[in-house]
């Protein structure tokens, strides 16, 4: 009997269990959650050519930066604006309160124009320096605008020659307001009235501040998950995860006893490592992603089943415990390798061709396969060896044979 090995074995087991007990849940919760879990809106926008402007790389870059400016003004935590392909932009708005309004705001071209009485465009949104929503003493909801120095000059000229006449302020070719000019305005400031609510005034201000999109942008796809559905999905998948892992743990204990116990310990280590890697990769956890984790747990256990079955065979053929274990690991390795590589091929294809949640699933599955090769083979072997070398439990039956 070698107590040294047995102590080492115990230390490893207790260490893994302790780390899992303390860190598993906080770690799982600290991984960035997808919109399907935390609620929010996912929008896909597509730019199309207009008469004046073609969609090119430069136009798309401007679209992205303008959309970013608009979204940042909404005050959300961690919104995402991402270009996809030549003409598409993906926008993710976690926890957005009024998704309908946000979507509407994203797709607006927001081209602002000032016209004189005869309809000539004198100024555009480019001449604006700032725009702010405010309420005046009379309770009117206004957007106060400030022009650039060039814009100030143009606006002064416009108002000077329009005294007593109408001018019009248009947004995307629709008249916002067309006041009569009482006197020339040289100070470079003006207000736009006629907003129904302060929220509407604020949205208009944001649109004006962030500038007009250079091309036409259409909303191709929107997906909104309400916060309560997200919460519900999160809770249920957590439950499924716990039950799934419990079923596997009990199964392994019943069929492989001590070997099963060690496989369970390394399975817990596997889940820890998988969560840790997802966190390090700054991956987003989605519902299919959780399914991927549950599935890869099944695959991690499969490697152990292969090894232990091989061990049983070798042991029954008359090998000693140690020799049978060694043979089990080395012979099962080729099998595990070939079978896992083929599964990895499927995961890789999913990753490169899938989008959004499907991609998240592929990442967890692929990571799971790679990590399981390490935990289910290397770690299990190391820990089992220690126990066998300690010579405390010599009966092959207790190892599942």
């Amino acid at each position: 009997m070698r107590w040294e090995n047995f102590t080492k074995f115990l230390v490893i087991v207790v260490a893994i269990l302790a780390v899992a007990g303390f860190y598993m849940k906080p770690l799982a919760l600290s991984i960035k959650q997808g919109l399907d879990l935390q609620g929010g809106t996912h929008v896909v926008l597509e730019a199309s050519d207009t008469v004046d402007t073609k969609v090119d790389d430069d136009a798309m870059k401007r679209v992205v930066s303008i959309l970013e400016r608009r979204i940042n003004e909404l005050g959300l935590t961690e919104p995402i604006v991402q270009r996809q392909g030549d003409r598409r932009v993906i926008v993710e708005l976690p926890g957005v309160k009024d998704p309908e309004k946000a979507i509407e705001m994203l797709g607006r071209t927001a081209l602002m124009e000032f016209q004189d009485e005869s309809g000539n465009v004198v100024l555009t949104g480019k001449d604006l320096k700032d725009a702010r929503a405010q309420i005046d003493q009379g309770g009117q909801k206004l957007v106060s605008i400030e022009f650039t120095s060039e814009g100030t000059q143009k606006f002064a000229d416009l108002t000077a020659r329009s005294v007593g006449k109408h001018i019009a302020i248009l947004l995307d070719k629709q008249v916002l307001t067309n006041p009569v000019v009482n006197e020339p305005i040289p100070g470079g400031k003006a207000v736009i009235s006629g907003n129904r609510s302060i929220e509407e005034a604020e949205r208009l201000a944001i649109l004006l501040r962030s500038g007009a999109l250079p091309v036409k942008v259409d909303v191709l796809e929107t997906r909104t998950v309400g916060p309560s559905l997200g919460e519900d999905s999160k809770e249920k998948s957590m439950q499924a995860f716990v039950i799934g892992i419990a079923a596997i743990v009990i199964f392994m204990l019943l069929f492989y006893r001590i070997s099963g116990f060690i496989a369970n310990i390394t399975l817990i280590l596997f889940v820890l490592l998988l969560l840790f890697s997802l966190k390090m990769l700054n991956a987003t956890l989605t519902l299919p992603g959780i399914a991927g984790i549950i599935l890869s747990m099944g695959m991690a256990v499969d490697a152990n089943v292969l090894i232990f079955e091989r061990f049983k065979e070798e042991y029954r053929n008359g090998k000693t415990l140690r020799a049978a274990m060694d043979a089990g690991f080395s012979r099962a390795f080729a099998t595990i390798w070939d079978s896992n590589i083929t599964t990895l091929i499927a995961a890789a294809v999913l990753f490169f061709l899938g989008t959004g949640t499907v991609k998240g699933f592929a990442v967890t599955l692929a990571l799971g396969i790679v990590l399981s090769m390490f935990t289910a083979i290397t770690v299990t072997r190391y820990v089992l060896k220690m126990l066998i070398h300690s010579n405390i439990i010599k009966n092959g039956k207790l190892y599942g044979a």
Binding site: F241, G298, S339, T343, I345, A347, V358
Partner: protein, 301 residues
Amino acid sequence: MKFDIVHKRKWWFLLSALFLIPGLISMAIQGFNLGIDFTGGTLLDLKFAQPVAVGEIREVLKDYQLEGSTIQLSLTGQETKANNVFIRTHVLSEEERRNVLGGLETKLGAFEVLRVEKVGAVIGSELTLNAILALIISWVLMIVYISYRFEYRFAFAGIAALVHDIFIVLGVFSILQKEIDATFVAALLTIVGYSINDTIVIFDRIRENLKTYRKSDGLAELVNRSIWQTMTRSIYTVLTVIFATAALYIFGGETTKNFSLALLIGFASGAYSSIFNASQIWVTWREYDEKRRTEKRIKGE
């Protein structure tokens, strides 16, 4: 001698055919219940404060010429009313959608928006194309890998078993008219990954046993032995993944139900086809090739 699986292979092929044919007929006749991910459209998933009936919803939708939409309640038991409603329409503009939601609220009372999705038709057709492309690419890559590590007959036999599993799942989804969405594609590819994994384990054993193979033993006998040597593993493994997916199916949320159902069917079919179809195809093929080679040799002499 254990039960001779290989010898009875005609029966296994027949059993597979029995499962495949109704599915194929259903696919041809009624097709699939494609979700908006594929067809494009708008999905409203609403939870009303007061239970509502399908008829009431349809009545409101009439005002917007949307009475032809799919309306589903998540019902528990015998009631005809439920709080949770799914409505699937053609693509609604942002404004149309606002109007419909407003109309529902004034006529049927307050609700909470669980999910609102709008998918343009362009995205839908891209998804279908991508899904088919993904399946084919994964098959080609697997054939290449297996041909390299084993031999081409194993590769094609394995892929044939895979195609079988995919069609079983497609068939069941067509017969039950379960909704197919983007995650279904992920489920199919997972089944691909799992089923081939299962098959490879048996092939691997055949490959190992072939090293000590003597012609007098008979190929069928060798394959039968290989299948039985890996049988416990095959059963245990399918059990563990089925535990895990069943947990997801039973306890997971509504949104992953169809996903885990596809996985459950696929895993079960994958386990079956690995044990009863894949190696049998290989044996049949190899025996046929050997017979032809001997015939050629005899003729040549």
